[in-house]
């Protein structure tokens, strides 16, 4: 080997060593400073046994610049509330109609003859064509309406700020309210630490209210008398964790519940007695520490999730093939 070749090889080796030192230094001084000695491993709670996931995301509709407010599904159509309108959308994602609104709704409920829109402290009742029939304010400075549900001519309103359920006629006459207080052995009334307080009326006319601080789903008579409840207090997949879960609730035609959780975001289906039937979407489908998507289902069991973080409607359909994670 000539002297010149040897010098080149030595120089190359020196250059390689210097670059390795520089790469190592840059790596350490930017993002790769090694392990966080204080890390809290929450990843184990994000892992879901794939055999439990019996739904697949089949499509999604990004909302672009529109700000998502609330969603409902009725008679095969999606009713989406955005910052200043109610958009009526086909299952293929085509906008059929737009009804102007005075703001971004917190909750929407559609029935055969009415569309009910709830804002923070106001209720608007429209007919199916979008004509405003009645409108009233819930006159309390702490009121934060988070959900509404209809049973025949009764309207139930969840007021998170005051941890109560109000009962109205559809033209705004207040009939009563309750705070979920029950016999001492049954536990505590509504505990609502944040603006997550949902209620539904199922096909059988039963009113179910989430008690988010207790991780329970509670069945009340129209007058607010407790009839039954189930509780799932756990960080595992079959339970609810954190301060206010399930943050969103919907109901299927057979009475099964669709639950949606915030923080460790996940969507699941439970039977009416509280047995976990399926995971619809595991945490890996959502942003870490995200908002709970609002959920709704059509009569065929297709689940629609309004993802506030990703600003899109996501559609989940049942599959016989459990998903592979």
């Amino acid at each position: 080997m000539s002297k010149k070749t040897l010098s080149i090889i030595v120089l190359l080796i020196i250059a390689l060593i210097i670059s390795l030192i520089i790469i190592d230094f840059i790596g350490k001084s930017s993002d790769k400073r090694g392990e966080n000695p204080y890390d809290l491993d929450v990843d184990q709670y994000k892992l879901v046994d794939s055999s439990l996931i019996r739904y697949r995301e089949t499509k999604n509709f990004p909302l672009g610049d529109r700000l998502p407010g609330a969603i409902d599904v009725y008679n095969g159509l999606i009713y989406l509330g955005v910052e200043d309108a109610l958009l009526i959308i086909t299952p293929e994602g085509l906008q059929k109609k737009s009804i102007p609104l005075t703001g971004k709704p917190e909750s929407i409920r559609v029935t055969a003859s009415n569309i009910i829109i709830a804002y923070k402290n106001e209720i608007n009742v429209f007919d199916s064509s979008g004509k405003l029939l009645s409108s009233w304010k819930v006159d309390n400075e702490r009121t934060i309406i988070t959900s509404v549900a209809v049973k025949d001519s009764l309207l139930f309103v969840a007021d998170a700020g005051n941890r109560r359920v109000l009962r109205y006629t559809l033209d705004g006459k207040l009939l009563g309210e309750f705070t979920g207080k029950r016999e001492s052995t049954a536990g505590h009334g509504f505990i609502v630490p944040s603006a997550n307080f949902d209620l539904v009326v199922n096909k059988f006319g039963e009113l179910w209210v989430v008690n988010p601080g207790e991780h329970s789903i509670e069945n009340y008579s129209d007058e607010g008398e407790l009839r039954g409840f189930w509780t799932k207090n756990s960080m595992e997949i079959d339970g609810f964790s954190g301060c206010c879960n399930p943050a969103e609730l919907a109901v299927m035609d057979d009475g099964s519940f669709i639950t949606s959780e915030k923080a460790l975001v996940r969507i699941k289906v439970y039977d009416p007695s509280g047995r976990l039937l399926s995971v619809v979407a595991p945490p890996e489908k959502f942003l870490d520490q995200g908002h709970a998507p609002e959920v709704a289902a059509d009569s065929t069991g297709v689940i629609y999730a309004l993802d506030f973080d990703r600003k899109m409607i996501r559609v989940f359909e049942k599959t016989d093939d459990p998903q592979k994670n």
Binding site: L40, R164, K181
Partner: protein
């Protein structure tokens, strides 16, 4: 409106603590303002950007770090099963050190009344490691968050945490408004 006495009591507690936090931070704000009349800017953490990487505990020139955990009581659920206080998966909700998430036992848990517990940070013990912040954000309402406390911070020309923060969460803010405290419950959370 409120029919439940225990909830009334809790609201009272909420308000009391909120004011207490407000006053202590206001005092510190004045101190920060005085300390930095020339520069008029101080360093602060944007809690919305913080990803709880742990560097606030290890990179500050002060020992222990000038970063402390702050509790936004408005957002807190006062839960028995607190994701910021207990290690995930604990079987018994007891205050033994083996059940606590905080490596320095800086969070004090006080029973208020069934089913509410109040969580208070002892800043002398807190090292700003963000472990509780991650627990609270992952399982709870995210009421625990980090802030640079200006009675402890040297307001270095170049904050060494800002230099190494992987999330670009530390920025200069006006000394007259030196804190970026998380919002209140009254704001709807979604959207």
């Amino acid at each position: 409106m409120e029919k439940d006495k225990s909830i009334k009591r809790r609201e009272f507690i909420h308000t009391g603590l909120r004011l207490a936090l407000g006053f202590s931070l206001a005092g510190v704000a004045v101190a920060a303002g005085r300390k930095s009349t020339a520069e008029k800017w101080v360093w602060q953490i944007d809690p919305a950007k913080c990803t709880q990487c742990g560097r606030c505990a290890t990179e500050c020139v002060k020992s222990p770090s000038a970063v402390k955990c702050i509790h936004a009581y408005d957002l807190c659920g006062y839960c028995d099963l607190c994701g910021g206080y207990f290690k995930p998966g604990v079987k018994q909700l007891e205050t033994g050190a083996e059940n606590q998430l905080c490596p320095t036992a800086a969070i004090q848990r006080k029973y208020i009344e069934e089913p509410y517990f109040e969580y208070v940070i002892n800043e002398d013990l807190c090292i700003g490691c963000a472990k509780c912040v991650k627990g609270c954000s992952s399982f709870g309402n995210g009421s625990l968050h980090l802030q640079i406390r200006h009675d402890r911070c040297d307001n270095c020309n170049e904050c060494s945490i800002a230099r190494s923060c992987p999330s670009d969460a530390i920025k200069r803010v006006p000394a007259s408004q030196p804190y970026l405290i998380k919002g209140e419950f009254i704001k709807p959370l979604k959207g």
